[in-house]
């Protein structure tokens, strides 16, 4: 594991007391390698490792810990700080609160829409409405209805309408009429390079002015995470990130890449296919996972 590898690289230090420029080079190589294996973006892994190197240089390595362990602690603390800060919840202002889901194909938006509705209903005593704005994917609207049925939350859809902006607006009108205090808008998956589809979600966003825009990302995403996160953020200025499928064994370095490049909080994680499989994001737990 990383701690043992760093111990080996740093063994030269034992009896010397301090981490110096010469022996830190080998250890930063191991740290960078560990981050790349964990899918952290290439450039970000480099920048991050340099920051760790600066923290490590001159630090007293023989006080209480093995040198390798101290290095790992420095890395873990830096990762936690990068992803950390206060755990941020959903912005529940607005009458009703409007939440807009966005993200690439298959990332877990429809499933998370249900999980969020279920969470707000059970934990925040809200009365949510799900709105089906994916007019493209075969049976996407049916999927959201099944999800709504599983959690006993109403779903607004209009199979005759192929304009997601109009559907979203109509969903909000119904919410106001029926006393729903949260409206969760599920949208189609889309590529950041698909101009037409990015224009569509921008139009939905402008038309409904959501309190909360969420970018849903698959935790096993590799190097491309920075490109898509940046593109979506440039167009939507989203409020938070949702990291899904963390019940898998992927290290999840995309979390670091995304946080570094857009500096938006990771609000929730998906930990399974069932509606209860939602959890608040814990930066230190994520840091440990990334380090393997």
């Amino acid at each position: 594991n990383l701690s043992e590898k760093l111990d080996k690289a740093l063994h030269v230090l034992k009896g010397h007391g301090q981490i110096t420029e010469i022996n830190v080079a080998e250890t930063t190589k191991e740290v960078r390698r560990a981050l790349l294996d964990a899918d952290v973006n290439f450039k970000i892994a480099k920048e991050f490792t340099n920051k760790v190197k600066e923290k490590a240089l001159g630090s007293d390595v023989l006080t209480t810990l093995q040198p390798g362990q101290l290095m790992v602690k420095i890395v873990k603390d830096e990762l936690t700080a990068l992803m950390g800060g206060e755990t941020e919840g959903i912005n529940l202002s607005g009458k009703p609160t409007i939440v807009l889901m966005s993200g690439l194909q298959g990332s877990g938006k429809t499933t998370f829409s249900g999980k969020l509705a279920n969470f707000l209903k059970n934990k925040k005593s809200k009365n949510p409405l799900l709105v089906a704005c994916d007019v493209y994917r075969p049976a996407a609207i049916d999927q959201l209805h099944v999800v709504g049925g599983q959690i006993n939350v109403e779903v607004y859809s209009d199979k005759e309408n192929n304009d997601p902006v109009a559907i979203a607006q109509a969903g909000i009108v119904q919410a106001k009429a029926n006393g729903n205090d949260v409206v969760i808008i599920d949208t189609a998956g889309r590529l950041a390079v698909d101009e037409k589809m990015m224009a569509e979600i921008s139009n939905i966003h402008k038309a409904i002015e959501p309190q909360e825009t969420l970018f849903v990302v698959d935790a096993m995403t590799g190097q491309d995470a920075v490109n898509t996160a940046k593109a979506f953020n440039d167009i939507l200025n989203f409020d938070g990130v949702i990291l899904t499928k963390l019940d898998g064994d992927t290290r999840g370095g995309a979390a670091i890449s995304i946080k570094s490049v857009v500096d938006k909080p990771i609000k929730f994680i998906g930990t399974g296919e069932k509606m209860e499989a939602i959890d608040v994001f814990h930066p230190s737990r994520m840091a440990e996972r990334i380090l393997g």
Partner: protein
């Protein structure tokens, strides 16, 4: 890698960045760079074109061949009837969509195709495959949500034999490879097929999302353990992701990449072309 340059550390560092940034992974990248260094004694001057040729040859060399050599069309061995393809992979990778596209290509060749809706778990999964069956105009075998996927696979193969079908494609539920009970379920679905037609499935197609990182190696490992994966499909290459993970996977597990997904439409499937794939890394 532009201009007539010395194959020095700068060139190799730049190459490392290009490959790792394409999800090739550190191990495979180092393997490729070692092979290039072995072929080009360092500090020898090489033109851009020469270095690029060597680079592309080394990458292509790691990509396994299919048994039929370079695929140029959607081929089915004539001696296997029905030819049964089981499609597996993690959640959201693009299995159901790929099946729709593949069924369309086989039908275009005049083959009789039957689909099996063995994802009996996920919300509206059966309805989703039904839409594709209707679009392609092929029969589909389905049961209720919550039924046993092995039972659906069994029914599909029985029905395919009765209909004298040429190709059967079985859709399965997405599942994470670290879930032992779900992987065991897949092994069972595979085993049950053999009760209807010996030596099936003839092909186990693992679908990988083109933007997946290094976890794809573990996916290939665990799905192979559960079902002996025979071929790979990589989807969503119409985005900015490069899909570099398939190089190391193909090399390590000796599994050829057969298809790539380049969009959400019925025609958005291509037979894998090594040269075009390697070229895409440098565009």
């Amino acid at each position: 890698v532009a201009g007539k340059s010395k194959v020095d550390d700068d060139v190799l560092d730049n190459l490392e960045e290009v490959l790792v940034s394409s999800d090739v992974g550190v191990d495979t990248t180092l393997k490729i760079i070692d092979r290039i260094e072995a072929r080009v004694s360092k500090d020898k001057y090489l033109g851009t074109d020469e270095l690029n040729v060597i680079l592309r040859e080394e990458i292509a060399g790691l990509l396994s061949e299919t048994h039929l050599g370079e695929e140029t069309e959607y081929n089915i061995p004539k001696d296997k009837k029905p030819y049964v393809i089981m499609v597996v992979g993690v959640n959201g990778a693009g299995k159901t969509t790929t099946i729709g596209k593949l069924a369309h290509q086989f039908k275009k060749q005049g083959l009789k195709v039957v689909l099996g809706a063995a994802d009996t778990f996920r919300a509206a999964a059966i309805d989703q495959l039904q839409v594709w069956a209707d679009r392609v105009d092929v029969p589909i075998v389905r049961q209720d949500m919550g039924s046993d996927p092995a039972s659906v696979a069994f029914d599909t193969l029985s029905s395919a034999v009765t209909q004298d079908a040429d190709v059967v494609i079985i859709d399965t539920a997405g599942r994470l490879h670290n879930k032992v009970n779900l992987m065991n379920e897949l092994t069972k679905v595979k085993r049950v097929m053999q009760k209807v037609v010996a030596d099936t499935p003839n092909e186990v197609l693992l679908v990988l999302d083109g933007s997946t990182g290094q976890n794809a190696f573990e996916q290939a490992k665990q799905f192979t353990k559960a079902t002996e994966v025979t071929s790979l499909a990589i989807t969503k290459l119409d985005g900015t992701a490069k899909g570099g993970v398939v190089i190391g996977i193909s090399d390590q597990f000796k599994i050829p990449v057969k298809y790539i997904g380049v969009g959400e439409g019925i025609e958005d499937l291509q037979v894998f072309n090594k040269i075009e794939f390697v070229d895409s890394f440098f565009n």
